[in-house]
Subunit: 370 residues, 2 copies
C-alpha cells in the first residue's frame, strides 16, 4: 500500500474509530491501523524515501514486523502486539496453542516493557472472557486491543500537555531516536511534547535531532516528522550533540524510554546514556517522556533490564550498502541504561516524576498522585 | 590503480625510498607515494569495499584529493600537501603564481594544522633555494617533501614505541576514527601505538573501534587495518562506547588529534569530546597521540581552532543511499575540541606530555625535554 492511499485509510480506519475523541491526529500518515482482521503498519525500515505499508494477517507476521522493526517504538510495539494477540486468538482456538502464540509474540524484542505489558493486558481479558462463546471472546479481545491503541494516543496527548510546561519560550531542544507518531499509536511521547509546545505557540526556536545510529531513526523518522510538522530543525550526527550541549546551545533534552525501572533508571535507545552524562556535566535539563505502561515496577534498577543485541549487519551495512570490511566483528546493543541520577524528570500522563525517583515511582504504583 | 598493483608500487616506490631505514611498513597497502611527478593516493572514500588508487598530477588535483577526503588524517594531509607544493612549483615558474597555488592548497581543509605546517616548511625551502637554478630548486623541494613523508613514518614509529609503554598487559582499548597507516605516511599515530603494543606481545585483549559517523572512518578504515593486522577487535556504533566505558570494559582510550593548542586542548574527529567527558566521569585514561607538527604553538586554547563544517550530504546520504528526508537541514561539524582537563596525556615523538599541559608544551616549544 503506497502513501497515496493514506487518506483513504485514515478516513476509513483511524479517524472513524476515534470519532468521539478530540481531533488529535495531525500527522499525514498512520503508524498502525486494524481493519478486517488485518494489522496494517507503515514500513519504518524504509521511510522516508519510500512511504509504504505492510499488512499482517497472522500473529507470526506481527512478531516478524516487531522483530524486524517494521514497527518500532515502545508504545507502537505494545499496540501492534495487542492486535497480534487478537490474531493469535483467531488462529488458535485451543487455549494452550493460543498461549504459546502469545509467548512467541512476547519474545519478539526483549527491552521495551510495553510489549509484555500489552500482551499481559490482552491475556487478562482472555482469562476474563474465555468461558464466553468464542465470538464474544474474540469481540472482547478486539475491543481491548482497540482500547490499548486509543488509550495510547490519549496518553500521549496528556503527556504532551504536561510536558509542554517544562519547555521554556524560545527553547532549543535536542532529541534522540524517534518518539513521534511513528513510535506510538499516534502523536508521540517526547516528540509529542515538542509538537504540543510548538502548537501552543511556545516559539520553539529550534529542534536538533540526533540521527541515531545504527538504524537512523532520527534521520529517517524524526527528521521526517519534524519536516511534516514544519518545526524548524536540523539533523546532526549523534556525536555533534556534545559540543552543542557544552556550548550552551541546547536548553533541554527530551527523549523517550523503552523501560523504566522502579528506581527511575531508564533504558532507551543507544546513545541516551552518553547524552545524559554530557547534560549532567554541563547542567542541561534532561527529560524522559514515557507512558506509565513503560514503567516496570517489578525490577529494582536498570541493571535488571535486558538489553537487546542486534545483528552486525545493522552496523556494517546501511540499507544494503557495505560500510565495514566483510567479517568484521560487531557489538551492537540496541539500548543503553541511563541512571536516574542523570535525569531531571520523567514525564508521564499522571504528571512529572522528579527525584527522589524511587519514592515517587512507588507512590505512582500505589495509585497516589505525584 | 587496483589493489593487485600495490606490491609493485611498494617495491618500486616506498620501500626503495626508505631503503636505509628499518623495515617499518607492515601494511599490505600504501597510503601515498610520489613517483615520476605523480602523487598516488589510496582512495579512502571507498575503502574497504574497493581498494583503488588515485593519481594527482597537479596541485589542483592534490587540493581536491584533500578537500574530498581521498586522503585524510592530519599527518597524511601534511605529506600530501608537501607534494602538492612541489607540483605547484613544477606548474608555476612564476613566484607570485606559485605562492597563490600554495595559498589555494592551504585552504583545502581548515582544522588540521599539519596542512599549513607542511606547506610552510615547503615555502621555507623555496625561500632558501629560489635563487638557485630551477632544477636545483625543484630538487630541493622534492627532497623536502620526501623528508616530510619519511620523517612522518619515523615519527609514528617513535610515538608508537613511547605510547606502547602506557598500554597495560591484557588491555582492552577503545579508539575513534582512523589513525593508522591510512591517516599518515605510514604506520599510524594512535593505531600505531596499538599495533606496536600488539607486536610487542603486550597481549592486547581487544580493540573496540568506533565506527565514526558520518564518514565511517572507523568502520571503513580502522576496522580494515585492524583485520589486516589480525588484532582481535570489534566495531561499535559511536554511541555504544559510553556503556563499555561505564561498565569497566575499557582500560584506556587512545586516539589521534588534528590540532593541539598550546594549553593542550585537542581538536580531533567529531565524537572525541563526548568520549573524553565519559572517560573523565568514569576514571578511564584518555590519550591523544600526535606528532609535534600537530601542535599549534601560536594559539592559546581550543577556542581558536577553526572547526570545519562539511556538507549536509555526508549525513543525509551514505555512499549515495539516502537516509534522511530531502531538504532536511543538517549541522555537520567534522571535529570537536576536547579540553585539556579531560586528557590523561598527549603522546608525541619527544615523549608524553602530562599536566600541566601549558607549561609542558611551552617546554617542548623551547626545545627542552619533557
Amino acid at each position: 500500500m503506497k502513501a497515496k492511499y493514506w487518506m483513504m485509510y485514515r478516513k476509513a480506519g483511524l479517524m472513524c474509530s476515534i470519532a468521539n475523541e478530540e481531533k488529535i491526529m495531525d500527522e499525514s500518515f498512520v503508524t498502525l491501523i486494524f481493519k478486517k482482521d488485518t494489522l496494517t503498519l507503515i514500513d519504518q525500515r524504509i521511510l522516508p524515501t519510500e512511504v509504504s505499508y505492510v499488512d499482517c494477517k497472522t500473529y507470526e507476521e506481527v512478531e516478524f514486523a516487531i522483530r524486524d522493526m517494521i514497527v518500532r517504538g515502545a508504545p507502537a510495539i505494545g499496540a501492534a502486539a495487542a492486535y497480534g494477540v487478537y490474531l493469535a486468538a483467531l488462529q488458535c482456538p485451543d487455549e494452550a496453542e493460543f498461549k504459546k502464540a502469545c509467548e512467541f509474540l512476547s519474545l519478539a524484542r526483549p527491552t521495551a516493557v510495553n510489549l509484555g505489558w500489552a500482551i499481559n493486558r490482552m491475556l487478562a481479558t482472555y482469562e476474563h472472557s474465555k468461558t464466553q462463546p468464542r465470538d464474544a471472546l474474540l469481540g472482547s479481545l478486539l475491543s481491548e486491543a482497540d482500547a490499548i491503541r486509543e488509550e495510547d494516543i490519549r496518553t500521549n496527548k496528556q503527556m504532551s500537555r504536561i510536558g509542554s510546561a517544562v519547555v521554556p519560550n524560545n527553547a532549543t531542544i535536542l532529541t534522540h531516536c524517534n518518539t513521534g507518531a511513528l513510535a506510538t499509536a499516534g502523536w508521540g511521547t517526547a516528540l509529542g511534547v515538542i509538537k504540543t509546545a510548538f502548537y501552543d505557540k511556545k516559539n520553539i526556536f529550534f529542534v536538533y535531532a540526533d540521527e541515531t545510529r545504527p538504524r537512523f531513526q532520527g534521520a529517517r523518522l524524526t527528521a521526517w516528522e519534524l519536516m511534516e510538522a514544519k518545526i524548524p530543525s536540523k539533523l546532526i550526527p549523534d556525536s555533534a550533540a556534545a559540543t552543542l550541549i557544552r556550548d550552551g546551545k541546547i536548553d533541554l533534552v527530551i527523549l523517550g524510554g523503552d523501560r523504566v525501572a522502579s528506581n527511575g533508571d531508564v533504558a532507551n535507545k543507544l546513545g541516551t546514556f552518553a547524552l545524559s552524562v554530557i547534560c549532567k556535566a554541563y547542567g542541561v535539563p534532561f527529560y524522559s517522556v514515557v507512558p506509565i505502561s513503560t514503567i516496570d515496577f517489578t525490577i529494582p534498577d536498570g541493571s535488571a533490564i535486558p538489553i537487546e543485541e542486534r545483528e552486525a549487519e545493522e552496523v556494517t551495512h546501511v540499507q544494503g550498502v557495505q560500510v565495514a570490511p566483510s567479517g568484521m566483528d560487531v557489538f551492537n546493543p540496541a539500548f543503553d541504561v541511563t541512571p536516574h541520577q542523570n535525569l531531571t524528570g520523567i514525564i508521564t500522563e499522571k504528571g512529572i516524576i522528579y527525584p527522589p525517583f524511587k519514592e515517587n515511582i512507588e507512590r505512582l504504583r500505589r495509585g497516589e498522585t505525584l
